[in-house]
């Protein structure tokens, strides 16, 4: 039983990072129907920014985190302005291909600047086990979980309670009607990209700290899994992304713990296929979609 609980905590820690990244996918999809394949790379950029700050300055962890999130948000908005906005009226497939292009561009840019070898992330959070009853929980795991939950609640409040949040929901429901109501659509889309990218960067920094390394292809696999999480939960739905992230994290951990670690990826990706066959709209997806 203790072992099972221990594994559950491991699953939560992996899942919370997937959930954070999945939020970026789902919000952008909700508002402009684009699967932003460059999102995993924004996560990588966020991790590199934190790495540079941690190596060159002695700023406290939380400040490094915030600076990295803000800068990544700016980059996210920039990507949207440069690569996606001119294609707003183009067929959706063009934008999708552009997104893949941006993803490769950012990856190769990082490759040129930082080289392929993994950089070691300084220990921003001191790594040691904390005993909770019979369980051993790492400091990094606790921090990851706490930060993820805080930012998820903040996002939920923002979308539900504030005016810009309301505008986001309106644009995702019906863009043209939103314009008629006097909502600045482009600004709202930029805001969505900014928030999504900031959360992606948070995921990236936590990923870098948890796994001690930063490298140019860091965003690829977690990005892909977060995308699956978003689809699994019901793409376009914020609670769906969070649920999907935790479900994927749990499945991965349980597979590794009780079956075999070689199979965990195969099982996660297989799950995506099954969900798409049985319930194409995802776990929380309904026919009349309630979007971001």
């Amino acid at each position: 039983m203790v072992l099972f609980l221990q594994q559950m905590i491991n699953g939560l820690s992996v899942g919370s990072i997937y959930a954070l990244i999945a939020l970026g996918y789902t919000m952008v999809y909700g508002i402009i129907r684009l699967i932003n394949f460059a999102h995993g790379e924004i996560m990588m950029v966020g991790a590199y920014i934190a790495f540079i700050l941690a190596v060159n300055t002695s700023l406290p962890f939380i400040l490094i985190l915030l600076i990295s999130m803000v800068l990544s948000a700016v980059i996210g908005v920039l990507v949207e302005r440069v690569a996606y906005k001119p294609l707003r009226k183009a067929p959706r497939i063009s934008v999708l291909i552009t997104a893949i292009g941006v993803s490769f561009f950012l990856q190769n840019l990082a490759l040129v600047i930082f080289k392929a070898d993994p950089k070691i992330m300084p220990e921003l959070i001191e790594k040691k086990p904390i005993a909770i009853g019979p369980l051993q929980v790492g400091t990094v795991t606790v921090t990851t979980l706490a930060l993820s939950i805080v930012f998820m609640i903040a996002l939920d409040l923002f979308v539900k309670r504030t005016k810009p949040g309301k505008a986001m929901r309106a644009v995702s429901e019906d863009k043209d009607a939103a314009v008629l109501m006097g909502i600045h659509v482009n600004k709202t889309i930029s805001l969505t990209f900014a928030i999504g990218s900031a959360l992606g960067a948070l995921g990236g920094v936590l990923y870098g700290i948890t796994y001690t390394q930063v490298f140019p292809t860091l965003g690829v696999l977690p990005g892909l899994k977060a995308f699956i999480a978003a689809v699994l939960g019901g793409i376009g739905l914020i609670p769906g992304a969070v649920l999907g992230g935790f479900v994927i994290g749990m499945i991965e951990t349980i597979t590794k713990a009780y079956l075999s670690s070689q199979w965990s990826d195969a099982i996660v990706f297989g799950l995506l296929i099954i969900v798409l066959i049985v319930k194409p709209t995802g776990i929380l997806g309904k026919n009349e979609k309630e979007k971001v």
């Binding site: 072992l3 594994q7 491991n10 040691k128 051993q136 790492g138 796994y211 696999l221 349980i254 670690s261």
Partner: protein
């Protein structure tokens, strides 16, 4: 038009043949030895380390009077870690430079690619670092200075049981990597004879999260955990072992060399098998380290030590043979018996070294020679 072109080409070919002929003839007072390895790209540190070690050895040998009155000249070519490039480099070394022996290749893959041609040429080949077991198989002229993957894995198992008194062990290895897989299986087989393997788990190169599998391993409370992978991955695993607070001794292979640079705190107290120990007090080891540091301003890696040893072994074989004639050198190589930086070396029937393995413990972020274990 076509005729004149054909004539031109014929002339170019004749000229190039004549020039190639010239290049070969002036090599009497110089014995050229080739080095092949990745000198650029992601793995450049491996090839350059071997070349630096070899050049240092050549410099010392020449300063001491050379071999049979001739000086040794090391010619190093870049393989970029690629098999085709390695074969091209070998052809160039043989045809253009007229080498009398090859110190290389650096990787197993490139050495295997060169092997067939080299066997046909009966070229004396001594690879410093190719660990794959097939490298020396059915190739009487191919030798190696490093030990093989299975030998290393089995020795690590022997060390765990005999010196650490381990009764139970877990193995966690990279299923996508031949090196990791080879070590893991050899360790598994050997340890199973002496104790119990509690878990034999694999992961893939892209895996970053080991908490689940480590929690599973920790539940059976093994005495040691065997982690045969390279520094970048081992560092991640050791960090998570520390974070989960698992009390286990980790053992690794020569892939751990250099782990103290980035992961000193998480690797503290753990052991790994290596080709030589920097803190080995033997005179030959300390002399080598001092000379290398003076020449290049950095501490030599295990690969540099192997490149250095290989050059000495090759030069001594030529001296013993009193000739650079291929068959005589090969015969002399087979009779090698001496003390080198990476240990006492003799060759078995395959051309694989019979040597002791240094087991190193990371203590206060430094290498400490914990034991010298002879395998098998």
């Amino acid at each position: 038009m076509k005729k004149s072109l054909a004539l031109l080409m014929a002339m170019v070919m004749i000229l190039s043949l004549a020039l190639a002929g010239c290049a070969k003839s002036d090599a009497d007072s110089v014995i050229k030895l080739g080095v092949i390895g990745p000198m650029t790209g992601d793995y450049s540190m491996y090839g350059t380390a071997v070349a630096e070690g070899a050049k240092l050895a050549a410099k010392e040998i020449n300063a001491a009077g050379g071999v049979n009155g001739a000086t040794i000249d090391i010619i190093a070519y870049d393989s970029k870690g690629d098999k085709t490039e390695a074969v091209n480099a070998y052809n160039r070394l043989r045809d253009q430079d007229g080498i009398k022996g090859l110190i290389g290749g650096t990787f197993s893959g490139e050495t295997l690619a060169i092997k067939e041609i080299a066997v046909g040429d009966n070229m004396p080949v001594l690879t410093p670092t190719a660990t794959h077991s097939d490298v020396t198989l059915n190739a009487p002229n191919v030798f190696r200075a490093c030990y093989t993957d299975p030998y290393q894995g089995a020795t690590a198992a022997k060390f765990a049981t005999e010196q650490l008194g381990a009764k139970t062990a877990a193995v966690l290895y990279n299923i996508e990597d031949a090196y990791s897989d080879g070590l893991a299986n050899a360790f598994n087989t050997k340890f199973a004879e002496l104790g119990t393997i509690t878990d034999f788990e694999g992961y893939t190169t892209k895996d970053a999260d080991f908490k689940a599998v480590l929690t599973k391993i920790a539940d059976k409370d093994p005495d040691v955990i065997f982690l045969p992978d390279y520094t970048a991955k081992v560092g991640v695993i050791l960090s998570q072992i520390k974070e989960l607070g698992i009390d286990v001794i980790a053992i690794g292979g020569d892939g751990w060399d250099g782990i103290e640079a980035d992961y000193a705190d998480v690797a503290e107290g753990h052991y790994f098998a290596n080709h030589y120990a920097k803190t080995d007090s033997a005179q030959i080891v300390q002399d080598f380290i001092a000379a290398y540091e003076k020449e290049y301003g950095k501490t030599p890696s295990a690969l540099a030590a192997l490149g250095y040893d290989s050059t000495y072994i090759m030069a001594q074989a030529m001296e013993k043979a009193k000739s650079t004639e291929a068959q005589k050198v090969v015969d002399a190589l087979a009779k090698t018996d001496g003390d080198y930086v990476t240990g006492h070396i003799t060759f078995d029937a395959n051309g694989d070294p019979v040597k002791s393995i240094s087991i190193i413990q990371i203590v206060n972020g430094e290498h400490k020679l914990a034991a010298k274990v002879s395998g098998e």
